[in-house]
């Protein structure tokens, strides 16, 4: 590689309309090689459409896409072996078992069957190897679908809502899988409804709504940019409200029947002051999240 930093994905002002509806309305973003990039947004935001344009499954009405330096549209045979895709709706061959699905998809890329057991283990489906796809649970199908996207060891992986329909344990296992893939230097672009999850996993996120990108940065930077207060919740009567108001750094104190909430932009200072007073009963600290960012950007409550 030259000294120039290579983009795995570079999308410039892509647009796609379905009749009157602007599903993707001028989206631009780049993803570095090795980066974990998340596209977030509510239903119908245009995440899938954006992803499919970048993958080369759809032709944009306008704009350009470079995937690993090449145009993915029209179908670019040179690119395909380096790209792994999990579609939002899982796509399987009829009546084949989990193992056979992986073998078949692998063979499309010239991958030997010996890898299949590893892939099944990676997504925790070894014990379901010989179960037909239609007899797997929703979450198991989802995991199989992810394994099918990874079977040929692609450089860039696109996952459309991979953690939808997963139970908390499976979600966490999948996080580990995704982190392991990233650790091997692969680029991951994924969509999700879970803002909390994106905050944990992604190097950078783009928040989409109604076909446009509203904000794009690392989750931490987005939250910081919001300059929203941290909310410290205590048991009622943990200390008098007046005392609380007197603590340095406290912006606001709000008392309810079941709790007292202190808002602050200097949580470290306030928490140590509270600790000095021994007033930490029932302590909960809630910092601003991407949900607050979304609320701030759209004026709407985020509903996944």
């Amino acid at each position: 590689m030259t000294g120039v930093r290579a983009f795995a994905v570079e999308a410039v002002d892509i647009r796609k309309s379905y009749g009157e509806l602007k599903a993707v309305d001028g989206v631009s973003f780049t993803v570095d090689e090795g980066e974990f990039f998340g596209i977030l947004g509510p239903n119908g935001a245009g995440k899938t459409t954006t992803l499919e344009i970048v993958e080369g499954l759809r032709e944009p009405d306008a704009g350009t896409v470079a995937l690993l330096g090449e145009s993915p549209w029209p179908r670019n045979l040179k690119l395909l072996p380096r790209v792994g895709v999990q579609l939002q709706a899982s796509s399987f061959f009829e009546k084949l078992t989990a193992r056979e699905q992986l073998e078949t998809f692998g063979s499309l890329y010239g991958v030997s069957k010996s890898i299949v057991a590893d892939m099944l283990e990676l997504v925790g489906l070894l014990d379901k190897a010989d179960v037909q796809e239609n007899k797997l649970s929703g979450g198991q199908r989802q995991r199989l679908s992810i394994a099918c996207a990874l079977v040929h060891d692609p450089d860039v992986v696109f996952l459309d809502e991979p953690t939808a329909a997963l139970d908390p344990q499976a979600r966490r296992n999948l996080w580990d899988v995704l982190r392991a893939i990233q650790a091997r230097g692969k680029t991951i672009v994924y969509t999700t409804h879970y803002l909390d999850e994106a905050e944990i996993l992604c190097d950078r996120v783009a928040i989409m709504d109604r076909g446009r990108v509203l904000a794009m940065d690392s989750p931490a930077a987005l939250v910081r940019g919001l300059d929203a207060p941290t909310r410290i919740t205590l048991q009622p009567g943990a200390l008098p409200a007046e005392t609380a108001r007197g603590i340095e750094g406290v912006d606001d104190v709000h008392e309810e029947d079941a709790s007292m909430t202190i808002s602050t932009r200097k949580p470290a200072v306030v928490l140590s002051a509270l600790a000095e007073r021994g007033a930490l009963d029932g302590l909960q600290v809630r910092t601003a999240t991407l949900e607050d960012v979304f609320l701030d950007l759209t004026g709407r409550e985020y509903r996944a």
């Binding site: 790209v83 796509s91 009829e94 009546k95 084949l96 998809f105 499309l108 099918c148």
Partner: protein, 348 residues
Amino acid sequence: MSTAFKSLSVAMVKGFLRDRMALFFMFVFPLMFLVVFGLLFRDSGADKIKLAVVGDGPVVAALERTGAVEVQRFDDQQAAVDKVKDGDLPAALILSGNDVRLRFAASDQVAAGTVNGLVSGVVDKVNLGATGQPPAFRLDQQPVEDASLKPIQYLTPGILSWGVSISAVFGSALTLVSWRKKQVLRRIRLAPISAFTVLTSRVVVSVGVAVLQAALFVAVASTPPFGLKLSGDWYPALPLLVLGTLAFFAIGMLVGAFCKSEEAASGAANMLVLPMSFLSGTFFPIENAPGWLQAVSKVLPLRHMNDGMLDILVRGKGIGALVVPSAVLVGFTLVVGFVASRVFRWED
């Protein structure tokens, strides 16, 4: 052979073998028709004309020698005529000395004509023999086929062609619809293999199924209850089988391109295959149909596959009988396949 090609074929064969409904409709269903029609019509072609006979003489002996009549003897003239009147027998022959009297039921014109022709022919021959003169004209009679076309002989090629049309049309249409619906097509499109590989792997599966169907149907039809006799020169049926499969495969691709759901695709495929099978002489020889129906049937690929199969499998006409059906089937495949490729969609 590329691994992608092989494993796609294997994937489709496995999916097919695990689909009981598909197996039933491709193998058991046509076989049921073969068995039912085969047994139903077993004796109809070989039926001899039954004839009540009272008395005896050279005429009776000559009639029996023709092999075309089955003689039932009666002692009583009245009993024999009553049998005819009741419609149990088509005619009664009453002989006394040189007097030959034939009483027949005019209601069954075909049987009456046959009996009249047969008996008068035999009487003429015996008369001529009695004069001791050499015949002025010599009639040389020989069958042109080694087997007369018993029903099983035309049923088997017909049901074989029909069965192949079902499996190829439904197979390709349903695979296409279900792969499109389940996004398998989009997913395959993201893999570095050509559409040609995907298409040919499916075609190969259809051809394999057709060969299995042919082997099964012919094997069953050849068992004693049915008694199919293949002509010695049946090998040209194989290329015809492949060409027929291709033509029906193309039709299935066209159906699959237009239909969004499996249900719609089966409905549409049925609407094509069922009338086509009747118009192509699958169950009954089309020669008895009105002229305009025969003209319609001439444009159907099943008709030509059927004719070709009949000529090759049963009539023993050999490779020459391939020309017309093959040309029609290839033409059909090219035209329909071209249209199907124009309307093909990767996704809904």
